[in-house]
Symmetry: C2
Subunit: 204 residues, 2 copies
């Protein structure tokens, strides 16, 4: 019997975060692919499965829905080592996760999307791309400074904050055309995550 279903956009870093956590903790989940601008995502919206109009959404076995990638990480991460036991470290983890959704995603992922999805080409003006490039370098520098001299964003081991930030950071170079040679600590951190047992890539 299937336990739960993830409505997942294959090309999206937000959906990938959740698939990566599922792989790392070895948890089964049915996946419904709802790619950007596809009939499948339109059908899922029409069926009321995407409460905020976007993926990912986790549907529990009893039909209850949970939208928002980082809220899904928190739900699936309960009882795993990826949520620190220490109260302050847990709060720090949430700080990084809210920063990811409020600052990082709206710049790094957005520039990547403008360059990646043909449907967004008309929005990809030179001015907009330049603004996102400059702001993105500022945000990546915050991440770089944090990771200089430490392996993980919070505490001494991988937490949900690392997975949340990895989702779009690891394609900042390939999709967003940020010059990632400026950020050696980020690159080493990406390598550490890609070496984790059970790791899957964005398109695995």
């Amino acid at each position: 019997m299937k336990e739960m279903t993830l409505y997942s956009m294959p090309s999206s870093g937000n959906s990938y975060k959740v698939r990566l956590l599922l792989a790392l903790i070895g948890r089964d989940c049915a996946i419904v692919d709802v790619e950007d601008s596809s009939p499948e995502i339109a059908a899922a919206k029409a069926a009321g499965r995407l409460p905020f109009g976007k993926a990912p959404v986790l549907e529990l076995a009893d039909g209850r829905l949970l939208p928002e990638s980082n809220a899904i990480l928190m739900w699936l991460g309960q009882g795993t080592a990826f949520i620190p036991g220490d109260a302050y470290q847990q709060a720090e983890m949430l700080s990084w996760m809210f920063w990811e959704q409020n600052q990082h995603e709206g710049v790094i992922a957005v520039r990547g999307a403008l360059l990646f999805y043909p449907s967004r080409k008309t929005l990809a003006t030179p001015e907009r791309l330049a603004e996102l490039l400059e702001r993105g370098y500022g945000l990546l520098q915050i991440l770089e400074d944090r990771l200089a001299g430490r392996d993980w964003l919070v505490g001494e081991s991988l937490s949900l904050a690392d997975l949340a930030l990895y989702g779009y950071t690891h394609t900042a170079g390939s999709r967003g055309q940020y010059d990632m040679s400026r950020f050696p600590a980020i690159n080493r951190w990406c390598d550490r995550i890609a070496a984790l047992p059970g790791y899957i890539g964005l398109y695995d």
Copy 2:
């Protein structure tokens, strides 16, 4: 002896959320005002008190820092009735809080800021304001639909999700010039929050 210090931007909904929670739970906290573009916010940044370059930031009694409004709400809310005991309701609460930071704040608060802060006037082009108006109505409709027929966003009582969303929603009309007469359920919910024992307004 002071327990903790909040670096708070007086005019900001993100900072106000935290001050409102402190007032509702009757918890003392020193407040350092760091208004937008002020010498005080520059000094706090230079002193390393604003890790992500913005307010609010909670400084614990031992000097540890916690940025991000909704992470601060989660920290201060521990052990209060504003975090549901039920695991799914807690996850739902976080869904709304991440949605607030990822979708709602970047539209409702941003349009309000463009119209409110003289320093942002040059960014307030008619095209940008019109785009934020249209997207904002879509986001407010999601909130309206959720609140139709229920008193609070999650479960049967006030949670941190209500405070997080109230921060910028309650000035969407006055600052953002959204026509709030379209959203009667939101207006009733705002009235319920303003009637809570201990409530303070944005400038109280």
